[in-house]
Amino acid sequence: MVLAFAAYPGVYTLLVNSGLSAEVTALLPRIETLVVVLFFALFAMSFDFISGYTGYLSFGHAAFYGTGAYLVALAANDTLPLVGPETPFMLLLVLAGVAAAVVALAIGTVSFRLSGVYFAMITLGFSQVLYVFVRDWDFVSSAPRDGVAVTGTTEGFEIGVPGVDALNVAIGQLTGDSIEGLLGFIDLSPTEVSFYAIGAVVLVCYFLLQRIVHSPFGRTLIAIRENEERARAIGYNTYVYKLSAFVISGFFAGIAGALFVGFRRSVTPENGFYFLVAGDALLVSIIGGFGTLAGPLYGTLFDEGVREFLSKEGGGGGLLPYLRANVGEGTLATELYNGLTVAEAINTFLNGHAALYVGLLFVLFVLYVPNGLLGTARDRMGGTLAKAVPTRIRRWFDE
């Protein structure tokens, strides 16, 4: 899977320049979209880490994402005390994580006295308090409602080893580094460099999370999800376990938020703190597989893919420009029903309305595939894919 992601930009460029160019730009997500997939998947993973593994629905998870995002944006604009614009981005990543973890500790200490629906609601309440606060606090920027854009520095945020220039690459669509002639034949555009750099951070975070999930600590979380009474009866202090998991989850959500600003260079209350950001994480976790760590990645890939495919005016790809370019005028002007032409129908039902189809699919998943893509695949295979697939293949060869 990691290899597939690593090879994607190369394959994509190859295909775009090949004979299938139009189809490829329409169908496959752009690299920009994949970068979004990476950092949002990390956020969704952190959400799934607490909600999927302990069963406590953290509906206010956007608070941690937003905290991380705002920390980076504010530090770069020299608004924060102590951390200025010259702070290395890698340090900011950790700081964003720590800040989000502190927020998580504060929220979690109070919230874990409750369970079930009440827990979901109190976390939602906390995150909305923060949302309104950030939206109207003029410390954040002169127009807090419009969010913060990084204006303090024009240089890209660098991912790599802090202090060593040769081991750093800047990320961002316009501010990032481009690489020419690596190993003699590889050329990478700024977006592709960002893709690999952010991918590396996400991969490290994923391995850390996976390590935690497979540790005795992670097993205890699952025990809490399955039967909290029993877990407590065995002698686990479930409160401490849940709270620690919440703080860890907040830490990684903060890093995801930091990566988001690192690439996009701006954040608004709506895409940082609003509760529907956590709703999106929930959505992709369900589609990908609730209670599986890698599931949210596939869910995000699917969600962002569909959104880009049906994007408004098809910014740089998607269905709309493809149809406009390849379907004849006559077909487009054909009347379908009561004066509704095909072109209008496409505009009405397909242009920018991905949320409808993602929502429908989400409902179907909840009803019929509650374990999500990855969870169902695992059930079929009888184990994690990494273990089950090689066994299967070996069995085929033996027969």
Partner: protein, 348 residues
Amino acid sequence: MSTVVPLLSALPAFSALPLQLVDALVEFLSPATLGEVIVRGLAEASLYVMIAAGLTLVFGLMGVLNFAHGSLTMLGAYLGGLVLVVTVAQSSGAAARLLAFGLAVVVAFGALAALGGVLEVGLVRPIYDRPPLYQILLTFGVTLVLDELARIVVLFYGLQPTTVWQDVLGTKPTFLADSVGVAGVSASGLELFQILFGVATVVGVFLFLTRTRYGLYVRAGGEDSEMLSALGVDVNRVFTVVFALGTGIAGAAGVLLAWDPAWGASVPLGAETLLPAFVVVIVGGLGTFRGTVVAALVVGLVDSTMTWWFQNVIDFTGLPEMVVFLVLVITLIVKPQGLYGVSEVGGH
């Protein structure tokens, strides 16, 4: 002590603040201001109780936290607005306009109740035996679909160049927009109308719960739905009826909101009403109707009080909105089950 006081009074902000606060307090406690704040608080409480009543009925009986409730309110607002715009002509008198409003409420209630019934039978019923988490997820998905569908329709018919559908506001009788002065307290006609409507709904739901056979089932089902079905009651049908009733009330609430310039019919109305509705039902204790009414009063009055303070004394524009959520957070910290809640609610 003696060194601290001059230090403080040397700072202009600190020396002026206590005096300012005292002045503000005196003004706040004057009958005219207090009366206005209370009337506005009651009007807000009426709106809150309208949007939260259906939610609490459904949760009380079935243990389903309906995330789609806000979107259903939004649909009610559009549907009621449509009826109002179609039936009310420029020259209609106040009585005709009120009649049209009644018609809009009936239409919105009926249509949304039907939709709610279909949703319950088609989507919610298959997952009653799953953990409550899945019902939240399912209704959350329904919200996404309903919102996007509404957005498509609104765009297609070009209803909304602005966020609020202004045409509906124009169908209000003129006396609702005027201020009425009673004993030195001025209140807008709309606020009084909202209070009337809210009280009527509360009384209606209360009578339904205590005086009808279905109300009895609802109260019994909230305690123990298995026992209820063992006694020969078709619990599934009770669930469907209550779900339909709850969504119907959401629709009626939407029509009421469509006339209020602070809300109005718009697609984001779904999310905007859902959150306060949640706050109210949680603060009151999930599933208790009495708690919901009390919580709506608390939230409405706190909200209007804080709005006055933040408009006149303290300058922070966003705080009134934040107050609603602060009420939620503080209540849950002090009394985790809400004002009237019990630890186990819902028949599942």
